[in-house]
Symmetry: C2
Subunit: 358 residues, 2 copies
């Protein structure tokens, strides 16, 4: 039964194919007809061509409804003192999200995106409170310094949560997904995943999270190494890595990346935690890369290793390290701008402007 579920999951993942290059080629031809030197809008032009390929359209690109999914989860490893904030902040921030007062609420409103808060594993009983999407799999991951983070069944449930939401919101007419996370302690599993899947040292994969000092940082590095030694994740098996040293929100984000690709919807990846989820999805099937846009380069140390490993360039580099999807929301106006340039600029011919002489 369980193996059936896992086999079905791999079937879904393996069905994802790279985008068709013909759309990129046609989009580039269109961009070169616009009144600007070729390529002079740099990364904006690359974003537009990527979107053309994902949407399989080159005539008039359009982003309709945008959804930011904020997956909230607690982490047993917080008992080891890896964060400056207590675990209760995870649920307190969920209430802050629902009340519209958090960073992601402000930035999503600015970007014209809807925020969906998902309880995947918060250590609190929310009693079906309005506005919260209840997908609770557990009340927290296990403490990875003592045992593996999640069972196989739980890991699959978290992954399917992301895939199911992608399917559901694609049906609701959303055409851009963004990832977000909330989970005190979650830079720890993210660093462990980064170290294993990018083959970078734990030291170079680990950052200061919400702002820990040197002592706490060194303890964090040591206990991630401990957790890896104890749980022995198989580095060539992304599912095993996710299950043994990952987290519920990271798995759901991986699921959202997979679900976006399945539905032909671009997934805008937030910072370090979200990129750890995207890294798992990419390691499962590298074709997923074509459907991902990386919104920003986080200040968290390990983020660089992920971006280099996947071979992607983020849109923004603003020293953010808040998570929640804030970097993704902040990149949305840039994506909208790329679309508008593509659709609305005059052509050389239409505007009567001379082309270059060479």
């Amino acid at each position: 039964m369980m193996n059936n579920k896992k086999n079905k999951f791999y079937e879904i993942v393996n069905s994802i194919k790279p985008v068709d290059g013909i759309y990129k080629k046609r989009a580039k031809e269109h961009l070169d007809s616009l009144t600007k030197p070729e390529g002079s809008l740099g990364f904006l032009e690359e974003i537009a061509t990527s979107l053309a390929a994902i949407y399989k359209k080159t005539q008039h690109l359009e982003i309709g409804k945008k959804a930011v999914f904020v997956f909230a989860c607690d982490h047993g490893v917080v008992a080891e003192g890896v964060s400056r904030f207590p675990s209760e902040v995870t649920r307190q921030m969920v209430f802050n999200f629902l009340n519209g007062g958090a960073g992601i609420n402000v930035l999503a409103r600015h970007a014209g995106a809807d925020v969906f808060v998902v309880d995947i594993g918060v250590n609190y009983e929310f009693d079906n409170i309005g506005g919260l999407i209840n997908k609770k799999v557990f009340y927290a991951t296990k403490n990875i310094t003592k045992e593996q983070a999640m069972s196989k069944e739980e890991t699959l449930s978290c992954l399917y949560c992301g895939i199911d939401l992608a399917n559901q919101y694609a049906n609701k007419g959303y055409t851009l997904f963004a990832t977000g996370d909330m989970g005190i302690g979650n830079t720890t599993p993210s660093a462990a995943i980064t170290a294993l899947l990018t083959k970078t040292s734990v030291f170079d994969s680990t950052g200061r999270g919400t702002g820990i000092d040197d002592k706490a940082f060194c303890k964090k590095v040591a206990l991630i190494i401990d957790a890896i030694e104890l749980n022995k994740p198989v580095v060539d098996d992304p599912f095993d890595v996710l299950m043994k040293v990952g987290g519920g929100e990271i798995a759901a984000i991986a699921g959202l990346c997979i679900g976006g690709a399945i539905n032909g919807i671009p997934v805008l990846v937030d910072g370090f935690i979200s990129s750890a989820g995207a890294l798992v999805a990419w390691a499962l099937n590298p074709a997923i890369k074509d459907y991902l846009l990386f919104s920003h380069k986080s200040n968290e140390t390990g983020h660089k290793a992920i971006l280099e490993c996947i071979g992607v360039r983020p849109i923004l580099d603003l020293g953010l390290r808040l998570g929640e999807g804030t970097g993704a929301a902040l990149a949305m106006p840039i994506i909208d701008a790329a679309i508008k340039v593509y659709n609305d600029m005059a052509t050389f011919e239409g505007a009567g402007v001379s082309k270059s002489e060479t």
Copy 2:
């Protein structure tokens, strides 16, 4: 008479004082009370504190009307083959701006900014065409490989054009200015100014502009060196540098930076050409730096030298090299986001979220 005008100009420039640090301190205190780890919104927080200091406000920041000034000018040096595009493109692009079809039109509409196109020195008689601001000082700068670019009187007229527009649009209620340029050939004077005022070699200050090949690039470097040898600008005299190897739009942009600072209005600087203008203003009075925001890091080689010399970090790095103010317009949604974070996020106290334990 002329010396009076120049003395008056220096009086204006020297009256600019740095912003008062107390506003930055208070703005930081407010940001630290919001529900996020301290400093976790990185550069957004720096933008908000800068704006608080420029506007002398820490209670509720607000950006009202935004103006992008696109200064258009022709350059005699185009006769030497420094551009892939013919000079006529300057006037053709002015018509494109007035018709709303250029990159800056699309991106300014996206940002909610008004575009003002200013004829400072286009080689064309526009006959007071509707929508164009007529500030024509000449029909082109002189060819700097033969003689100095502008007379002292012309240079002052271009500088005053920027200052006067700043005064006028401040009175009209605009609270953010952005710089833009249009001028076939204008990376050449910009590279000359950069080399002289940042004390970087001409080779490292010169880029490919609209996309010239190796041969044209090397000719461009050589002729900039020739122009400097011929005109002998005094490197410690920014006015002299601007007059001898600069351009009309670059001078007007320098004037706009000065005028913004005088009026306590932030000036969002576009890419390489605009930064050459900002560099002149900064070299005249370094206090002007406090009123400038650098929107993006251009792909033009010399831009790096300017940003390092002034000691500023640009908001975006998207490989743009179009000019017109496009990078400035693209950075506006990020600035708006910084303001909204500052005004709209919940505080720890208000949201009932625990602060960090350390």
